[in-house]
């Protein structure tokens, strides 16, 4: 038995002892403990150092709102920083360390920083930035980073698995305290799908720490067990403990972070550590409770100073005495419940300093001093005494202060309803002036947006009976009769009262408002003195409420102090916005399975395995993986590309073009539709023939291009660029559905139906011919298409060229792609056929001046800019983009036009994207264009480039300059076709 563990009671399993380590020392605890409760049971209150001043700190709370007791758990890649010790569940072998201390928690060198405290006051970040140039970078930042880190990053990639799940329910109840349990009972009564989630390991909320109260004649714990059993027996009910509703989005879309394995000593391998639920609820009942407020007085941050409700929780839930001699600073009736429970557990109550002049509730004969404030404390690593002063007594620093020894100082400052999720869901908090609290603006069930209701303490309803009844009413189906269900409760001490702001008679220095960010009352009044008026500005200037706890315990006190300094009512100063997540959520949860190989779909073509076996080097093209080049063993990439290009120009090359987008356009109006979507004319294209198609957007700019084959009068096989496939289909569907809906034709994507095997080069016909059945290749002219058989499989054979050589593109059903590819390969061996990759394809097309949309165009380029006016059907009255081609800007001089650039034959290729200047570049000189494509051409034995150049065609023959990393290069402007301008090679 550890020193501060009560001999009996608590919701722990005393049958098993757990060993754990904290800062290297060994301790023991029980299943059911949190790290905080187990350390307190061992008499350890000092659990961390504060962020800015490195002041010693212990737990203030017993839950998610904890600002002080932040620890790191685990080692190496599983090291997780900034966990709240109040929420870390104990398991055998757990190893945790404190943060923000060096060399040790008890002796921290950085605490000397406390001596610099005046320098680190409100706005120090901003003021420091204004220091003489470079000082921030050289001096302040390194020093501050060393001193003021919040935890350390893990030592490697996260080894754990995280999963995600969509879910749908009729009613989501957030919080399994009395209001939430009652809401879930009511909501599930008629078989509805109900989710009940709670961030703690055990459902029950406040019921877990109610040793005295009876609900319907049963002890609170017994009623809780029965309620949970009843819920679990209903098939529509899902109960998720260890699950935080961290974000509430539009239309009741709620993010839930479920922790699955962190509480286990040895999780089953492979199972997810956390599950992120993406839940859509018909209705949401928020039963998120309220958070107790600390009282703001000088030195209110020592270990051993905690919230009264937390002390009550440690006693009841974990059978831990948080001290032996307590002083309570009370402004709310709930403090007396804590005092009573402590006294019954054998903790001496030295004094109760009651801020209010009178106490209306039962005080159990304890030593209450009305109209008395705690205005300070002493102690080094643990509180040793509290300074009590009668309200209205002498001025600060004067007499009238009584020092009362204690090792536990409890604060009962009243309760702040948890509006976080309500506010995230765009609910508007309203200020209740009489009770000095913000409440949900639309808080009656059914009135809030999207059927989002608040119930219980989160809407200011306190007391067990009231919370149960409020929750039950909120859970009942809307539209049905309200049952007005009552709950008989006795022995409850409901909260009433409360205080916000700086305690009267206390100095503002060292009176901490925001523990985690070390913000004092004095910082807030200073911010107001310096001219800040809005709480949003005060927050950013002082950093109050900006820590990982988002000011759960501090916001209202900060607001009250700011309002007091401004002499304005609290609502006039405003309330800071609550943002998700309610408590930190791991990156792993958000990523889910989308890591590594599963980050993004990797699309591979039907012939991928062949290329892989051949040693191809792949490149990512969007989601596709394409063979970039096929190096021979030991061959450099540039040499491989040059070899592949020579093979195509001299013999033949084999290329996987399967990623080309393909759309089958079918119907009696198919040609009329294409007439409107492409610049070209289609009506007179004979079945069996192909045409290069150019697609514009309505603004007249080139959007896509590709070869279109007419298979029959009413059937076209349209190809698009690989990257444009989805966009082109979307664009076509848009016009077909909304503008040209009179046309009878339909679109079907066949990109993945067909594997495309390109055979290009002077020997292409000789290679393909023996495999083809049903087409006379001798009579199969350039730009023809036929349905036939290739290597025994049904095929669509195109005679097209993207290299300038004689070429075929064999389309076969994707499942036969590899078989046909291998048949062509076998056939081609005798002809010197070689596979080539995307890089050679790019070089070959650039030698011919064939554009790649998206590389040589950028969304501001017209057909004429590219020299493609020939592709415009002049007789057509209209097509998408036509009207725009005659807008003044499209006809103006100075447009960027596609040209070729020739640099010195021995120079390196230009950089794609490089700017072009008219004279050798100087600072301030305007660019007149840019390089769009640049390669070393093996065919021509020199570098070539394509460029968009202002008035480019008029500059042919002129010299331009291109700034490159090693100095500028001169280039001669040329036409964009470098090789075989007559097109003689297309016929082999």
């Amino acid at each position: 038995m550890t020193a501060f563990r009560l001999p009996s009671g608590g919701r722990i399993d005393r049958g098993r002892t757990l060993r754990f380590r904290f800062d290297g020392r060994s301790y023991t605890g029980y299943p059911g403990d949190t790290l905080a409760s187990a350390l307190l049971a061992n008499g350890v209150h000092l659990m961390g150092r504060s962020f800015k001043y490195h002041r010693p700190r212990g737990p203030v709370s017993a839950g998610a709102e904890e600002p002080n007791a932040l620890v790191a758990v685990g080692a190496g890649a599983r090291h997780t920083p900034n966990l709240r010790a109040t929420q870390v569940e104990l398991y055998d072998g757990l190893s945790a360390t404190s943060q923000n201390r060096w060399p040790s928690l008890a002796f921290d060198a950085g605490a000397a920083g406390g001596l610099l405290a005046p320098l680190l006051g409100a706005g120090f970040y901003y003021k420091t930035f204004m220091a003489p140039g470079g000082a921030w970078h050289r001096l302040y930042e390194p020093a501050i980073r060393r001193a003021a880190g919040l935890g350390t990053v893990p030592g490697g990639p996260d080894p754990d698995t995280y999963t995600q799940r969509y879910a749908h329910c009729d009613v989501l109840v957030v919080g399994a305290g009395p209001a939430g349990l009652a809401a879930a009972l009511a909501a599930s009564a008629n078989g509805a799908r109900v989710f009940l989630v709670d961030e703690q390991a055990e459902c029950g909320g406040g019921l877990l720490a109610e040793p005295e109260a009876l609900i319907e004649g049963k002890a609170a714990a017994a009623w809780l067990a029965e309620a949970l059993a009843a819920l679990a027996a209903r098939p529509g009910v899902t109960i998720l403990p260890r699950t935080t509703a961290f974000g509430c989005f539009a239309q009741n879309f709620v993010g839930l972070a479920e922790r699955l394995t962190d509480h286990l000593a040895a999780p089953l391998p492979g199972l997810a550590r956390e599950r992120l639920w993406k839940l859509r609820a018909g209705r949401v009942v928020l039963a998120t409770g309220a958070i107790e407020r600390p009282l703001v007085f000088a030195a209110n941050d020592r270990p051993g100073i905690m919230l009264a409700g937390a002390a009550r929780g440690y006693l009841a839930r974990w059978a831990v005495k948080p001290g032996t001699r307590a002083v309570l600073a009370v402004a709310d009736d709930s403090g007396y419940a804590a005092a009573r429970d402590l006294a019954r557990a054998g903790v001496a109550i030295a004094a109760i300093a009651e801020l209010r002049p009178h106490v209306a509730c039962e005080t159990f004969g304890l030593p209450v001093r009305p109209a008395t404030a705690v205005v300070g404390s002493i102690g080094r690593l643990r509180v040793a005494a509290a300074d009590l002063r009668p309200i209205g007594g002498d001025s600060v620093g004067g007499g009238g202060v009584e020092r009362v020894p204690c090792d536990l100082l409890l604060m009962a400052g009243g309760w702040t309803p948890s509006l976080h999720l309500f506010s995230q869901a765009r609910g508007k908090p309203v200020f209740d002036a009489a009770r000095a609290m913000y409440l949900p603006g639309e808080h009656r069930p059914g009135e809030a947006p999207d059927g989002l209701a608040s119930a219980g303490a989160c809407r200011g309803v306190f007391g067990l009976a009231a919370c149960l009844e409020d929750g039950y009413a909120a859970g009942e189906a809307r539209g049905g009769p309200a049952t007005g269900r009552r709950f008989a409760v006795s022995g409850d001490l409901p909260p009433a009262g409360g205080f916000e702001g700086l305690v009267p008679g206390s100095p503002a220095r060292k009176a901490f408002v925001d523990f985690q960010n070390d913000v004092q009352a004095a910082d807030i009044t200073q911010a107001v003195r310096e001219g800040f008026r809005s709480i949003e500005h005060v927050k950013r200037y002082t950093t109050t409420g900006m820590a990982t706890d988002q000011g759960k315990t501090s916001n209202i006190n900060a607001l009250a102090i700011a309002a007091g300094a401004l002499g304005r009512p609290m609502p006039a100063v405003g309330l800071t916005t609550f943002r998700m997540p309610y408590t930190p959520v791991t990156f792993g949860s958000f990523a889910g399975h989308a890591r590594g190989e599963l980050f993004e779909p990797v699309r591979r073509t039907p012939m991928h395995a062949w290329a892989q076996a051949r040693g191809a080097v792949f490149e990512d093209v969007g989601q596709w993986q394409r063979a970039h080049h096929f190096p021979a063993p030991g061959e450099a990439a540039a040499d491989a590309v040059a070899r592949e290009c020579r093979a195509v120009r001299q013999r033949a090359g084999l290329f996987d073009a399967s990623t080309l987008g393909k759309i089958e356009v079918v119907g009696p109006d198919a040609a009329a539709f294409l007439d409107r979507l492409y610049t070209n004319s289609w009506a007179r294209l004979a079945p069996g023939r192909c045409r290069y198609g150019l697609m514009l957007n309505e603004a007249g700019f080139v959007m896509d291009d590709g070869v279109v084959g007419r298979l029959a009068a009413d059937r076209f096989h349209v190809t698009t660029t690989s990257s444009g496939a989805a966009a082109v289909l979307h664009h076509m569907e848009d016009y077909l559905q909304t503008e040209f809906s009179d046309l009878r034709c339909w679109l079907t994507s066949v990109t993945e139906q067909w594997a495309v095997i390109a055979v290009q080069g002077p020997r292409a016909r000789a290679i393909v011919a023996p495999l083809v059945e049903g087409v006379d290749l001798a009579a199969f002219a350039h730009m023809s298409v036929a349905e036939c058989r290739v290597a025994g499989f049904p095929a669509r054979l195109f005679r097209v060229s993207f290299t300038g050589e004689l070429g075929f593109e064999i389309n076969v059903p994707a499942g036969h792609g590899q078989a046909v590819w291998e048949a062509v390969w076998a056939q081609g061996k005798a002809h010197g056929l070689e596979p080539y990759g995307t890089e050679a394809m790019h070089v070959l097309r650039a030698e011919k001046g064939y554009i790649v949309v998206g590389q040589d165009t950028d969304g501001t380029v017209t057909p004429d800019d590219l020299g493609l006016s020939w592709a415009i059907g002049k007789a057509k009255p209209d097509f998408v983009g036509r009207r725009s081609l005659t807008r003044p800007d499209m006809l103006a001089e100075g447009r960027m036009q596609l040209v070729g650039l020739l640099t010195d034959a021995a120079s390196a290729p230009l950089e794609e994207g490089a700017q072009i200047t008219a004279a050798p570049p100087r600072t301030g000189m305007a660019a007149i264009g840019h390089v769009t494509s640049a390669y070393r051409s093996a065919t021509l034995g020199r570098p070539i480039a394509l460029a968009l150049l202002a008035d480019g065609r008029a500059r042919i023959g002129q010299t331009v300059h291109i700034p490159m990393p090693g100095g500028s290069l001169a280039a001669t402007v040329a036409g964009p076709v470098f090789h075989d301008p007559e097109g003689a090679r297309l016929d082999g």
Binding site: L268, A594, R603, W746, E752
Partner: protein
């Protein structure tokens, strides 16, 4: 618990046009959104008001637009008591029997892949996925199953 197996539905065609309610190969092309009609080995899945996925038709006699997509996608059968739970790892739709009854089919997404999802029985699903997305889909389903302790059939 949940088993993913390749399902070869035979030929596949896309039927487009005002064909809702038409008789075709022994079944009526469904006119109602998100419904599938089955007759023996053949099925017609509503994908849009003028678009159906035809499974198992050797040939399609119709005045409307028909395109052979037999190799465009791959089919999978996912069956078992935890199949819907597994699907919820990637499909954002409500897959409860009330919201997605047997006979429902729709295009939707599974994480970053588009799929066609068809509920053939309370605990048996047919999934069509574009050929190049199939490895991603299968790997993702396997990862979700492992992380959630949803094993294959006990052998």
């Amino acid at each position: 618990m949940a088993d993913l197996t390749p399902a070869d539905p035979g030929p596949r065609h896309i039927l487009r046009g005002p064909a809702g309610g038409a008789a075709l190969g022994g079944l009526i092309v469904p006119d109602q959104p998100c419904r599938a009609a089955e007759a023996g080995p053949r099925a017609a899945l509503w994908l849009g008001p003028d678009e159906w996925l035809l499974l198992g038709f050797a040939a399609v006699e119709t005045p409307f637009a028909v395109v052979d997509v037999g190799h465009r996608s791959l089919g999978f059968r996912l069956a078992g008591p935890r199949a819907a739970e597994l699907l919820a790892g990637g499909v954002p739709l409500d897959l409860s029997p009330a919201a997605f009854p047997v006979g429902t089919c729709t295009r939707t997404i599974f994480e970053k892949a588009e799929i066609v999802l068809w509920r053939r029985a309370e605990a048996a699903w047919h999934i069509e996925v574009a050929r190049s997305f199939a490895p991603y889909l299968c790997d993702m389903i396997a990862a979700i199953a492992a992380a959630n302790g949803i094993g294959g059939q006990e052998r």
